[in-house]
Amino acid sequence: MSNTTRKLWTLKFNTATWVLIPAAIGINYLGKLFAGVLKLPLWLDSIGTCLAAVLAGPIAGAICGAVNNIIYGLTMDPISTIYALTNIAIGLVVGILAYKGFMDKFGKCILTGIIAGCVAVLVSTPLNMIFWGGTTGNVWGDAAYAWSIAHNMPALLASGIDEIIVDLPDKIAVMLIVFAITKSLPKSLTALYRSGDTVESLD
């Protein structure tokens, strides 16, 4: 079955896709947990969202991102609910790019990471400005913010730099992990989530 017959914007998910969403959120959660355990300087908390977007399309990715942050909001940090917007954007962008074939090759996959990172910066920076006055809570990013402000840059630009330092490497790493995972998945599994495919009967 060729890729072109899949519907990109379908809202009619099959059951496997509905079940993929909570599993992807669990993967997000574990990514964050492992990154914490290994003391990595990245968040790695959007692996599941990107995986869902690659496997089941942009809408599934967006729903996954939204539900993910709503759950974070309900269980850990209420402010992170509003960052659902960022994760929705990441899910949409990665889903569309994957549909266009950006996840086939290693180089294109890094490009996907860069684009997703830029989108995350564009959405998060205004939110950072509104809620935190521009800082992100990440030591390296905030050091850059303080440095930029001290050198008389406008707060919005400083906040953007802060967010780029935090988000861009994170999203590239996430896309590389997703690339490695999707390449090693068996076809029988990836075919499950393609809602647009028609089933051909033999009898």
Binding site: W18, V19, L30, P41, G73, P78, A180
Partner: protein, 259 residues
């Protein structure tokens, strides 16, 4: 299995209220300061939230939540107090480090806003069972399938955390290093995460079959396992919150006309 939800049943007044009133409380707490255009309304809501949380005996559980954001708030106060553009009036100097009034006032606004958001959310999340909340959303016309996706996260995450402990032990016993320099730790990430990802994706296949057998895709009207939580007080609370928001707007308009 440890639940990830922060909800606790203490039989308090907030426990007995419906989720709708508490969600409306959040909306009122977030909108009123914006409508009235003054930080003091937010301050009032903070005090109100604290009283409600103390009354429901869950104030202790807010400490870890405040701790998550407290650190970021501290950096906000330091960075804005030291470096914010337009900083001219020094108020506090510790050796060479000088805090400025403008930056500190700006940071104070952020602190009030963040505390208000955190505490009003706590009023909801510490006293409401997530599944009750989602069930009520579904009653109001939310998609039951999306409702399933939300509720099942609360079951899946504890399961996956257990798998994670098993996998970490298994990989360590095979000689994987999880401590050391950055490169070693980065290398450890893939062998840790990929077995969980694989097993959870394979599980989705079985789960999907199990759900379909039980009529997940059935289109007829769904029934609910639990009764709707709602009592007489809910309606009064909802109306008074709406009145508060209208008052905030009226106050803004009056102030605007006086100027």
């Amino acid at each position: 299995m440890k639940s990830i939800s922060l909800y606790e049943e203490k039989g308090s007044m907030l426990n007995r209220l419906g989720p709708e009133s508490k969600i409306l409380y959040i909306i009122a707490a977030l909108l009123s300061p914006m409508l009235a255009g003054t930080k003091w309304v937010g301050f009032g809501f903070i005090i109100c939230s604290v009283i409600l949380l103390v009354q429901s005996r869950v104030i202790k559980k807010t400490i870890p939540i405040l701790g998550v954001s407290g650190f970021i708030l501290l950096t906000v106060v330091i960075i804005q107090g030291l470096f914010r553009e337009g900083n001219v009036t020094p108020v506090l100097s510790l050796g060479k480090v000088i805090f400025y009034q403008e930056g500190l006032l700006f940071a104070w606004g952020i602190v009030i806003n963040v505390l208000n958001i955190l505490l009003c959310f706590c009023v909801l999340i510490l006293t409401t069972k997530p599944s009750d909340m989602v069930e009520n959303f579904v009653r109001h016309g939310f998609s039951p399938r999306l409702g399933y996706a939300v509720i099942s996260v609360f079951q899946i995450i504890p399961q996956m955390t257990e798998t994670m402990a098993t996998i970490t032990d298994a990989q360590r016993s095979r000689g994987m290093e999880t401590e050391g320099n950055l490169m070693v730790r980065i290398k450890a990430f893939i062998p840790l995460i990929s077995p969980v990802v694989m097993s959870s994706l394979i599980n989705t296949k079985e789960r999907a079959l199990a759900l379909e057998v039980r009529g997940f895709n059935a289109t007829n009207k769904k029934t609910f396992l639990n009764d709707q939580k709602r009592n007489a007080a809910d309606r009064y609370i909802e109306w008074s919150l709406i009145v508060v928001m209208i008052l905030a707007l009226v106050w803004r308009i009056l102030k605007w006309q006086v100027l």
